[in-house]
Symmetry: C2
Subunit: 383 residues, 2 copies
């Protein structure tokens, strides 16, 4: 796809949504053309299905939508790069996510946006509606509430729960990094990584990279490098400080970049300048993932010396987007009746995605979103 | 449709649900075949829609699924004739309802079953998920909780809320009665009506018939005629006693039938015998609506002297089912941006449904479920 004017895309998207009243729709898996058809999906026939699943609760997933459905739930507190815009603003994004679930993994996903941002109320609401669904995909919920909400729901529900902004992003970043390291011939144990953004995505990326073998990570927030002696940080950031930055390095983003091998940006537009890229080690890897405007534009990063650049966007090479991940994760969880998506599964998924590119190059470290192998490959290891 | 063996229907329904994992499915209103399509339903284009609706909240219904969607919500406490079978048992029925919404009114309805039966928790949960939907259709929630839940949600939400088991049923019963009275040439003001069942449906039918002009109603529960001096009744039944049975008649169901013109059964199987029908006035009207097994089978009622018989089933003439009503009610509410469905609208809807039958006869008092005029006709008066 060629670069396109974002204004034109926006105009087209608005027109499309207005024409159809959104993009999400409902369909029947079976034709209803006469009373005979109706008697099977509605009374009296449906009563037999109800009676059967009540007596055989473990068969509910075989006889109802629960076997193939996921709720895509947001409170609208951290939507795209738009921030805390509430449920109305989140709804178009959740509709789009649901279409991707259908397109890439044939999952019947339902958008649910909430008019509460209270942690306990969100947990209660999701638990109350959970019998309907075979999985819960949390979206666009801001940190630190997203950590508690996901943790509690994983403990208290017997269906898989995943906060996509955390783990979808973390899996695709690890997959991209594995292939990028092959291209530049560096080892995961020896690279120094700078992560910009200590919210949902940054935290999950940090944790998965550590589990995957990275030893040296600096995490940046708005105030600079996160370290153990910073007085201004939350409990979640204090945890990050305890598992990263073992040298207890202090300073600004500029200081962090000097001598780094890998940059992963999940923060905001234009936070990185060419000088910072130029100060990185040779053969540097730059994942500038803020959407739609990245931390640094790819052409600037390449000119400043980066060898491999990836973005979250579809109009540049090497798109890293959780859309490459979440359909397959839930396809696997539903098919394999997985109730908890574990760290081991996530790391395996990243390795399997990376392996789909036989010979990674600077311009080709990751399968494209429309690559049909993606969901199947990921689904196989979520077991 | 000929009478069919219920066992055969049940077997077919079970096989159909197993084959597809339920019957509810999700679809896209637009093709997603390439990155260009994707850029409109997902990032970056969808961001423009999010930003727009946040700045123009009143346009949310024009640009998102909210404009054409209804949540079909049950706690599984009063499912069909099966009783309190919980959310798993309710799910197949809610899926079926959603397909009827789509088939008859092109509404994108989403099943939601709840794992709580606590009134306050149900209200909170529905309020929390309400930004997603343009309407709330409550289903199969037992009395008396259904009254409080519907009342509170109507007060506290700005989208239409309807408990279908109450009002869908009440509207179709009134429509059928209007035409049945034309056939037997009796006036609504002068008939004596016996209603069996003082739950959700019976209460709503009583209230709509009184508003429509009926003056003389006896309501029956398991203990017989409801009257003001009964010590054993709930607040809701005491209210029924205060608006019906002005002669303060006491006694059993057998006593109630003597000299009645109309019977409406929304109670349970085989509660009425031929002798009770025979004791009614000449040209009696018998709506024996318990599903799937009615209070009395139509052939028995006719043999005992009933002139017009209706059931809730599709395999007999004169099917009275809320499926003839709820799609049109919500189609109208969505199209006309109605936030409260009022008694006036319901009564108008019943009259308009009745008028669709130009010359009512004993075997033809009501349009069939597949009559395409139904939803359109009802929708027009929900404004």
């Amino acid at each position: 796809m060629k670069k396109r004017n974002i204004d034109e895309i926006n105009k087209k998207s608005l027109a499309l949504h207005l024409k159809h009243k959104g993009v999400f729709s409902v369909a029947s898996k079976t034709a209803i053309n006469n009373m005979s058809d109706l008697s099977l999906v509605y009374t009296p026939g449906v009563g037999a299905v109800s009676s059967f699943v009540v007596k055989n609760k473990d068969k509910t997933r075989d006889y109802t939508m629960k076997g193939n459905s996921v709720a895509v739930i947001s409170d609208g507190s951290a939507v795209l790069g738009l921030g805390n815009i509430g449920p109305e603003g989140a709804l178009p994004v959740m509709e789009g996510k649901c279409l991707l679930f259908k397109k890439f993994a044939n999952i019947d996903a339902v958008p649910i946006v909430l008019n509460t941002q209270d942690t306990e109320e969100i947990i209660k609401t999701i638990k109350a509606i959970s019998p309907t669904f075979g999985g819960i995909n949390l979206e666009d919920i801001s940190a630190p509430r997203c950590f508690e909400i996901e943790k509690r729901l994983k403990e208290e529900l017997s269906i898989p729960v995943m906060h996509d902004d955390q783990h979808g992003t973390a899996i695709i970043v690890l997959a991209g990094l594995l292939n990028a390291l092959k291209v530049v011939k560096k080892k995961i144990e020896s690279v120094r990584v700078v992560i910009s953004g200590a919210g949902a995505a940054g935290t999950a990326i940090t944790k998965i990279l550590l589990l995957a073998g990275v030893r040296n990570i600096l995490v940046l927030d708005r105030s600079g490098i996160i370290h153990k002696n910073r007085a201004d940080i939350t409990a979640e950031k204090a945890e990050l400080a305890s598992i990263t930055n073992s040298d207890n390095k202090t300073g600004t983003a500029i200081d962090a970049f000097v001598g780094a091998d890998v940059f992963v940006g999940v923060s905001g537009p234009n936070l990185v300048n060419p000088e910072m890229i130029a100060s990185m080690n040779k053969d540097s890897i730059v994942f500038t993932l803020a959407n739609p405007v990245p931390e640094i534009m790819p052409d600037l990063a390449l000119k400043a010396g980066a060898r491999i650049v990836a973005t979250g966007r579809s109009d540049f090479p090497n798109q890293l987007n959780n859309a490459q991940v979440f359909p397959g994760v839930f396809r696997g969880a539903l098919d394999n009746r997985v109730n908890k998506i574990t760290d081991e599964m996530k790391i395996k998924a990243a390795h399997e995605i990376a392996k789909l590119i036989k010979k990674p190059t600077e311009q080709n470290i990751i399968p494209k979103i429309f690559d049909k192998r993606l969901a199947k490959t990921v689904a196989k290891v979520i077991k």
